[in-house]
Amino acid sequence: MNFDINKIRADFPILSRKVNGKPLIYLDNGATTQKPKVVIDAIEDYYTNQNANIHRGVHTLSQEITVAYENARATVQKHLNAEHPHEIIFTKGTSDSINLVASSFGKKYISEGDEIIISAMEHHSNILPWQQVCEEKGAILKVIPINEQGELILSEYKRLLTVKTKIVAITHISNTLGTINPIEEIIALAHVKNIPVLIDGAQAVPHTSVDVQLLSADFYVFSGHKLFGPTGVGILYGKEKWLNELPPYQVGGGVIKTVTFEKTEYADLPLKFEAGTPNIEGAIGLAVAIDYINKIELNKIATYEHNLLVYATEALQKIEGVKIIGTAKNKASVISFVIEGLHPFDIGTILDQLGIAVRTGHHCTQPLMQFYGLQGTVRASFAFYNTQVEIDVFINGIERAIKMLR
């Protein structure tokens, strides 16, 4: 398919609304992405025509929706090129997926003195669950440092990998810096020592295609809402071997084969990890979102977004006093910056008055902010429905804010 920006923008109803009297310019895609009409329609259709509980009833509606839900799983499986559909677990989102792995993996494999490796650029969602396991088990959190450009220092990583290391959990793309981490190499290095690796793909899936078999990732997690799908649904991919070995995380309806008051025999994958009635419309909406971006094609999306990134970076650098935080060689379409003498919050407030949505603050990466000695940054994160014209308005907005605030 041709990359037709006007047609693409027309697919997203929210892009035609106004904010504070101005056309919305949505540059907060790192926080969440907007939804194409097909996703919104799928959710409406679910409640209008399909609603029933899955895996439960003999009646037609229940059977139909069970098939649709399992088809959604198969769509995710194909998208990630996972070997089996049951390696795809539906969760509430990235945070939920990481909590699941940290809790279940921690219960079984982590003990006192063991080490868990994360990096200095992790989102709090990929810090706190591991921190908690460490506290419970007396294990130690090790952190791969970064350089000034915001790239992982791999020589340090190699040094941290020891016989004590039980798992490595790293973000694929930094939500604050945009850095694309060399996860192939990170995984390969860990696997030499038989250490499993979890990849936080929350910021990666909207921008790049992911092949979990090629990567040999042990766990790969992401959120539906950052991939143009609904909120409240996410994915945990896990290698069959691991998911079979991990104990259940939450328990309840749907996770069992037999229950007596003495003992429960748990269901096979994937149901073992899907306690209770899941977010059915979320799963279905996510599959529709995946089909949608695959129709546009992720490689075209990546090229288009890279051009936006280069265009915006060059324009920003021309503004006096702007400092871009995160200048890795390999970057996704995320730009964090600060402006000398101005508070990110003031800039964000003025931009909002102009209809421009950006994120300000620490972006749930406080340790990273501490590394740069900053309270926060302004972050513009682009999706494939953004345009150069929007970036021009954004740059004008920043110049206007500087004039007002200085």
Binding site: H343, P344, T349, I350, T360, Q375, M404, L405
Partner: protein, 141 residues
């Protein structure tokens, strides 16, 4: 001037502006003229949580009236604090505790400022009232 009279004065002032730019510019100017907190009071316990930007607030009791000084690293926030100080500073703990502060809504600040900002504003007001309550209880003892 009573609290309500100062509120009315601010409402009249903001009515002169017909667009948001001028309102913000005015707010920024007000921020610049705020009674600044002494550096020695800019400590962790004077920091008001709940704002994206940092606000330090200090109060003192003089002749039965509470006086506030403050600072913020964000200039629009500073303008907000300045407005609050202008309205509440120099009044008795009793008056501060019972102030309704309807002017915030009237001048369109709750609407025009983002929820994160409003939360900061609320924390600010809460802190000022808590200080007032603390002073009143010292009278009672």
């Amino acid at each position: 001037m009573s609290i309500e009279e100062t509120e009315q004065e601010i409402i009249d002032e903001f009515e002169l502006f017909d667009d948001w730019m001028q309102r913000y510019e005015h707010l920024i100017d007000l921020g610049k003229s705020m009674p600044l907190i002494k550096d020695l009071y800019k400590t962790e316990d004077k920091l008001i949580k709940g704002c994206q930007s940092s606000v330090w607030m200090h109060s003192e009791l003089k002749d039965g009236n509470v006086f506030f000084t403050a600072d913020s690293d964000a200039i629009i926030t500073k303008g907000m604090v300045a407005l609050m100080i202008r309205v509440l500073s120099g009044h008795t703990p009793e008056e501060i505790m019972h102030s309704k502060l309807n002017f915030i809504e009237t001048i369109g600040l709750t609407k025009h400022l983002s929820p994160t900002r409003s939360n900061g504003l609320l924390s600010m007001i809460k802190q000022m009232k808590l200080d007032a309550i603390a002073y009143r209880s010292t009278f009672e003892n």
